[in-house]
Structures are given as C-alpha cells and as structure tokens.
C-alpha cells in the first residue's frame, strides 16, 4: 500500500474543527436524495474524494452526526453534498425532509486523505449508486484543470433515475451501467440491463495506475474481483464502502 501523501494535496492542515455551514441551496429533484449546497465558515480547501461530517443538535443537547462525500469542485464557492435518504436514517431523513435554505448545521471537514485524487495518477473510478458522489468532485476538478484524460469514471445503478448526477456524468464521458434498465447507446443500439461485464471494465481500466471503488460491500467485492481479472492489482485499489451486512 502506498501512502496517500505521495500525491500533491492542498490539505496540509489535517486537523479540522467544528464550524458552521449555512444551507444555501436545497434540491430534492433526484428521488431518494437531497442535494445540499453549503456555505462553510472558515472553510479549508478539499481534495476531491474527501468528506464532511454534519452534526445535528436537539434542544436537549442530543447530537447525531454522519459523514457525507463532497460532490463539488474545490474551486466551487459552496460545498455540495448529495445525501442519500436511508430508511430510519436519523440524519439523512432530517436533511431530506426538514432542512430548508437558511438553516444552520454544524460541519467538520474536509476529512480523509486516502480516498482522494490529486489529478496526476491515471485512475479508474467505479461507483455503485450513491457511491458516485466523490467521483463527481473528481470529475468536476479534472474538467476544470484539464486533467480529465487521466480519470475514467464508471457508474453503476439499478435505473438511471436512481443514479445521482446521471446527466452530468454522461456529458462528462462517464461510462454508465444500469442493472435493471436497458440503455440506449449513441450508436443506436442498446446496452442490455446487466451488472458491469468484466470486458467492459477491462477496456476502461487499460493503462490505469490506480482504481477507486465506492459502493456497497457486495458491489465493492464484485468490482474488486473483475478489476483483478483486468490486471488491476489489489494494492492499486482504494476502497470506500458503506451499508450493512448480516
């Protein structure tokens, strides 16, 4: 395993403290998600792939906090989070159902220096569902800095409606694989609903030096296996996974 610090990063100050985030935009147009754009006080620049922690505080002092990947480019004046609303999600359901423009939240970040892309290492990013969020930040950064030739994003979801940022991903050249919906292709044919094929990954992973995989435990395990078949060694793979297991 190599160190995360081998790439130039702009987060030299890794000690973060709690600060205030004012909600400037709330967008609930993707079913099951809420997109929040936050004005963070005393903000530190992030590296694409990092996350913020949001903390909610009840009148009696009870608090709940969760981590959310950053979707925005570091140059964006606001910090954008795309939060998936989870069943019984104490924080996510509050953000989805209650939060309004002008609300103040407690925030801490940016956090994490491992699952980050600094723009130099040729990489493939493979996301399952909401796992695409950190890769949106990487893509936005790459397009702004002209480093997008080194970044291949692959997003898998059940249906297009359940894939946040689907239009943006598509126009940025990401490969989209839907598992429960046939998908029209530019040449007039269709990609039949299916999980990612090993051949699809092999073609996209050609020549990469690193892979980022973000998704559920089962998805990460599956992608790790087909990346391995495509010649991507496990020590080249950085993982962020979520979701319960029995």
């Amino acid at each position: 395993m190599s160190e995360a610090g081998t790439e130039p990063t702009r987060t030299e100050a890794i000690a973060s403290s709690w600060t205030t985030a004012i909600v400037r935009e709330v967008d609930r147009s993707t079913a099951g998600f809420v997109r929040l754009r936050l004005e963070v006080a005393d903000r530190q620049d992030h590296v694409p792939g990092q996350h913020y922690v949001l903390r909610l505080r009840a009148p009696d002092g009870y608090t709940a906090q969760r981590s959310y990947s950053i979707a925005s480019d570091p140059a964006d004046p606001l910090v954008e989070l795309m939060v998936e609303c989870l069943p019984r999600g104490e924080v996510s359901s509050f953000l989805h159902d209650v939060v309004e423009v002008g609300d103040e939240l407690e925030a801490r970040g940016p956090i994490g220096r491992w699952f980050v892309w600094g723009g130099t290492t040729p990489s493939i990013c493979v996301a399952g569902g909401s796992g695409v969020v950190p890769f949106v930040s990487m893509l936005r950064y790459a397009r702004r800095t002209g480093t997008d030739a080194g970044l291949t994003v692959v997003a898998s979801a059940q249906t297009r409606a359940r894939l946040p940022y689907a239009d943006e991903l598509e126009s940025a050249g990401a490969f989209i694989a839907l598992t429960r919906e046939n998908q029209p292709l530019p040449d007039g044919s269709e990609r039949v609903a299916a999980h990612l094929y090993p051949e699809e990954i092999a073609a996209l992973a050609d020549g990469v030096e690193r892979a980022y995989v973000c998704g559920s435990v089962g998805f990460v395990s599956f992608v790790g296996r087909i990346l391995g078949e495509a010649g991507v060694r496990s020590d080249m793979v950085r993982v962020e996974q979520f979701g319960p297991t029995s």
């Binding site: 160190e3 890794i14 403290s17 009840a58 709940a64 209650v98 103040e104 491992w114 993982v239």
Partner: protein
C-alpha cells in the same frame, strides 16, 4: 453550537448510557468498512509475529496460536463512523498471553500493528495490555469472516474500531509512537470513543 432547527433526534435515539457521545446503536447489523479490498488469507500460510522491543521475538502459525490459553471478549464495540454494536462476543487469545511468551523490554512504550494488506495502526502499549486487547478469530462462536478481518484480527474494544486492525499479521513493540494508516490520513492518534477522539485535532 446552536440547536438545529426542527431536530429532536430520530428513530435511532436511545439515550442509552452504554452509547459513547455521538454514537448510535446499529442493532443486529455490522457495517463493513475498509480502505482496501478484502484479502483472502490462507490459513496454512497465516502467521502472527510479535517483535521489536521484546525479549524473544516470536511467530505463531495457526496451530501454534491455538495452543495458547483461549480468551474471549464480551461487550460493545464502537466505530468512528458513529455506529456502536452491543453485546458482541469475540474469541481468540489475549494480547497479554502473547507478550507473556515474548517478554516486553522496559523501553517499549507503543505498538505498531500491521495487516497483510499493509494497513497499519499505532497504539500505546498500555492500551493493549492488562486485559484490554485480543487477537481474535471467532465472532459469536463462528469463524471471523474475511470482510470483518478474518481469519484473524486485532481487537481493542475500548478504542474506536479502526484500531482493531483487520487481517493483523504483526505487532511491533517500539520505544516511540508513529502514526498508522488512518492516523496519517486525518484520524486521531488514540481514538477513545468516550472522549470522542475521532479526528486529528480532537482533545
């Protein structure tokens, strides 16, 4: 900090005194979190080495470590991502039993744990001695699965769970502290959940 408008606490809210601050009870679930792909470790090739500032550096294989006196932990575990899991049972051997074999040199103050994947974490020696840490291969009476660190992981349940290195293969005793993987990447050096030592910068 001020109150969050409209927030009273959701379904997870327990008010349970067993929950450290900022944690919730994950119930029957056990989330899987790791920074790398899950390795498949062959038991015939598995070893655990305790070396560094010890009198007798020692490597155990699967059969050898089972010859040590068994020891179990029953209690709660706490992950920095804010879930806690109550009433877990892990079985294996106490780290004390390993150190009894190797001896500990006077100048040893810290331990640096390494996994087969290259994952590392650092701990003060006092956090893995006197019945506070285990090397475990069973969870609730069944072999520890690979995604949860099997065949063998470190268990330091009084600290956040990233300290309980999955797929552990080496404990090196040192006379100084050096940050491990997550500690270099923004997480706290010690990680006491009752003090909410989550990230670098926490007291």
């Amino acid at each position: 900090m001020g109150i969050t408008r409209g927030f009273t606490g959701g379904a997870r809210r327990g008010g349970d005194t067993r929950l450290p601050p900022g944690q919730y009870d994950t119930g029957a679930g056990w989330p899987v979190l790791s920074a790398e792909l899950t390795p498949q470790v062959d038991l015939d090739e598995w070893t655990l080495t305790v070396d560094g500032l010890v009198d007798r550096p020692t490597t155990w294989d699967w059969r050898g470590i089972h010859a040590l006196p068994p020891s179990s932990y029953f209690g709660d575990i706490h992950c920095v991502t804010t879930w806690s899991k109550f009433d877990t049972t892990f079985s294996g051997v106490s780290v004390d039993a390993l150190l009894q074999v190797t001896g500990v040199r006077l100048e040893a103050t810290h331990v640096f744990a390494t996994s087969t994947t290259g994952y590392t974490t650092n701990l003060p020696l006092s956090d893995i001695t006197d019945g506070k840490a285990w090397i475990v291969w069973e969870f609730d009476g069944k072999p520890l699965t690979a995604e949860h660190g099997g065949p063998v992981r470190l268990l330091v349940p009084h600290l956040y769970f990233w300290k309980s290195a999955k797929w552990v293969t080496r404990l090196e005793l040192r006379d100084h502290d050096e940050q491990g993987f997550w500690e270099r990447n923004g997480y706290h050096d010690r990680g006491d959940p009752w003090l909410e030592q989550r990230y670098q910068g926490d007291a």
